[in-house]
Amino acid sequence: MQRIGVFVCHCGSNIAATVDVKKVVEVIASEPGVVHAEDYQYMCSEAGQEKIAIAVREKKLTGIVVCSCSPRMHEATFRKAAERAGINPYMVEIANIREHCSWIHKDINEATEKAVILARAAVAKVNLNTPLTPGESRVTKRALVIGGGIAGIQTALDIADAGYKVDIVEKTPSIGGRMSQLDKTFPTLDCSACILTPKMVEAAAHENITIYTYSEVEKVSGFVGDFTVDIRKKARFIDADKCTGCGACQEKCPSKKTPSEFNRGLGTRTAIYTPFAQAIPNVPVIDTEACIKFKTGKCGLCQKICAAGAVDYTQKDEIVTEKYGAIVVATGFDTISLDKYDEYAYNQSPDVITSLELERVMNAAGPTHGHLERLSDGKAPKEIVFIQCVGSRCSDDRGKPYCSKICCMYTAKHAMLIRDKYPDVNVTVFYIDVRTPGKNFDEFYRRAVEQYGVNYVKGQVGKVIPQPNGKLLVQGSDLLDNKQILKEADMVVLATAIEPNKDVRKIATMLTASIDTNNFLTEAHAKLRPVESPTAGIFLSGVVQGPKDIPETVSQAGAAAVKVVGLLAKDKLMTNPCTAKADELLCNGCSSCANVCPYGAISYEDTLVNDHGIRETRRIAIVNSALCQGCGACTVACPSGAMDLQGFSNRQILSEVDAICR
């Protein structure tokens, strides 16, 4: 029988207001195995942890139950406290009486009754706990960053500057991401390219950074400190070592009609192309779906023209396999499809565009060379209407339930830039709320109104009605005037909701990283561990975690880098000792367990066993504890109960069941 101490935390009033902690102490003290029970204001405080140490000393405790917040919060804290007090850290169990009890129940009797039951279950479990010792695993001192936008670039630079090797995998032919598509940035109106390009160059030149563009992560295995990743380098059909980036091939390419991804489909590109002038690497790729040579076998003009002899139509995809200690996901975002929002006539009129498309229109390298013009007829607009929250804050199934966060600011930016450059153009913004928290943000928006005379109308637009004369009639609400207004516009710009890059679900599955219903990756803790995934060794940078603007993205990218560096700085990692183990006397050697093991951690060995005097050689399952991650799939596949999971054993869980159902 264990000697168990139970410590009931008040958590200020978080627990104590709804759970009668004194009563819990009183009832639990008479449970079998419990030799000590007390309550305290804040068990996680130093004084609280000291109480554990004192009780261990004085009452010779062998097991500890802390009734407090979620184990996901402070299990590690109390395990360390136990270890300092001289008890094996795995002799600690947490009864979650805050998140699972006091915070969700109102009736004090009901909550107290439940807290007691949860405490009993934990006591019952500790009674069957056994000391466990973590193993050690090595750390590969190299990081992988998935995504080469500003988030990925910044994270990679910070890791590389700390002295560690880091690889960037970018799906498109160049790093740079969404930021490279922007014209200006808020809240100061810097040119986006002017501040991004130096970072791109720095990353490319950094001795610790390897960049794989036009590449995708194909397979991930392993675990924190020791991931193995297959990267598919898609064939560019250009020998990057030979290419001088002269651009002659692109000038001569006769296939010029493909919509340019970089210009959001507003302009065209050639079949052999670099997405934009400052692309890194400055090595083109051949789009085989557009290339005449690939489609018909004829042409081959680029190969003929290339003085460096870099064009190679026979190039094949290549798989690079590399080991990493940590992986950062920085896959960024895209705008949502507007197919379900055609009341705004996006699919009916070329003069209805998204804000990201407007960035390209305003950009000197864009489809209109930076001139603000209607895409239908090239005429200069006189009236422009901006519509906010298109697809954001929607609880129907058309859009996204969240606020996309960046739209209020970029719309103020667009409105201001337009009014500045074209003072004769009237700008109207239909908004629901203007949300501009952030340093110098509200001031920025107010300047748009006060200094630049942008007309902000509180109310959403119901319909954009194309007119026979080519104008767009915008039918919207003016809620302050309680009127329905009809405004004739030349252009309509939609602040389209952003969503995580479509590939992120596939990547999250490969990484076994949690993902939420909106396809943003989940943080380990919403407040305290915002750049880590709950999956150890996986870190989050940029919009993949949630909508954010450039300053926030860069801060978070740096934070993710620090977390990676902290991990890579270690030589060894402690492994989870809660691994599976087979009882050799019960094992049938039937292979059911190995069939369900996702890690290939189970093998079979002919083992000489002594089964109550019968000595024979049997086929016995052996678990490699360095590979086992402790899911427990094998334990249920095993019919004889030979396979059990340490820390979550059959008898431990059954004892919890019994305690709850008692």
Binding site: E616, P639, S640
Partner: protein, 323 residues
């Protein structure tokens, strides 16, 4: 039968096999029992007829540990069990010399007795070489007869087929005996109201005396030590303390063999209380076939059982509520 005995003698004599695993004449004309024969002489007691229902594949677990090869007689349905044991590394193929024996359906003495035939002294018409359509039975009350089909085990009416799935050689003819819908009984229960279902199983399972005959005979239930005998789940029980434990035992037993059970029907054959235990296993087989696609345990050695397999598009558990 003589052909079989002769061949067994030959193989024993030339040292191909060290022993023969077959059936030995019992104390009654209808109760032969599994036995090893290690000498040519002992084979005089060897018998193979319509009453040799016992599935010998499970004996091969122990026989695999012995020196030399064992000649084992497997009926078509037994060969599925052997394959399944092979898949699970429980038997050694190299230690077995399999003679696939013909089968014309096996008999259930209880069924024969139920037709009113008592005091049996001799039975004829159940030899492998017989046509097996009528049984001539000598009793202390005189000569009786009974249709072979009427005396056949339930499992033979839903026979999986007369083909052996694994063998070294074949001796004897088999015949198709399948004349019933295999899942008809399961479907009948499925169609009941929850109350009726519960009453049905309560009535059946309350007869259970936990003699473990079902477990002992079952070729899939071959654990060195059963969970119900170990301390791993605090589940070791000997007596039938309450009705729940019977349910738990039989549900878990069926669950543990789900996807591995070849539906050999031995559990029901040996149950001294006559509980139709195969109805549990057959329910799992039916569900597996319907939800995850047709799967026949033991049809092929090395195949992956449905419960250690998955498909990303599998049905959700809520499908149960919709069925």
């Amino acid at each position: 039968m003589q052909e079989l005995i002769n061949r067994a003698k030959e193989l024993l004599a030339d040292g191909t096999v060290a022993r023969v695993l077959g059936w030995k004449i019992g104390d009654m004309p209808y109760n032969p029992e599994p036995a090893y024969f290690e000498t040519v002489e002992s084979l005089d007691k060897f018998v193979y007829n319509g009453f040799c229902g016992a599935n010998l594949s499970k004996y091969m677990i122990e026989a695999s540990k012995l020196e030399g090869k064992t000649l084992v007689c497997l009926k078509p349905c037994d060969s599925y069990s052997f394959n399944q044991l092979l898949t699970e590394h429980r038997v050694d193929r190299d230690k077995a010399y399999i003679i696939g024996v013909g089968c014309k359906g096996k008999l259930d003495i209880e069924k024969i007795k139920k037709t009113g035939i008592k005091g049996i002294t001799a039975v004829s018409g159940a030899e492998m070489t017989d046509a097996c359509d009528t049984l001539e039975i000598d009793t202390i009350y005189g000569k009786k007869s009974c249709s072979y089909n009427d005396g056949m085990l339930e499992r033979c009416h839903v026979c999986k087929g007369k083909e052996h799935k694994i063998y070294d050689e074949l001796i004897g003819e088999s015949r198709d005996t399948c004349d019933k819908e295999r899942f008809a009984e399961v479907e009948r229960i499925e169609a009941m109201s929850p109350e009726e279902k519960f009453e049905f199983f309560k009535a059946e399972l309350s007869k259970c005396i936990r003699c473990n005959a079902c477990r002992n005979v079952c070729p899939a239930c071959s654990c060195r030590k059963c969970v119900f005998d170990s301390t791993k789940f605090d589940s070791a029980q000997k007596a039938n303390v309450d009705s729940f434990e019977e349910k738990m035992f039989h549900i878990i037993r069926a669950f543990h063999v789900a996807g591995r059970c070849t539906d050999c029907g031995e559990c029901s054959r040996v149950c001294p209380q006559g509980i139709p235990l195969h109805l549990f296993n057959r329910k799992f087989i039916k569900d597996i076939n319907e939800i995850y696609g047709e799967y026949v345990a033991g049809a092929e050695a090395g195949s992956r059982a449905p419960l250690v397999n998955f498909d990303t598009e599998d049905a959700e558990p809520s499908i149960v509520n919709e069925r």
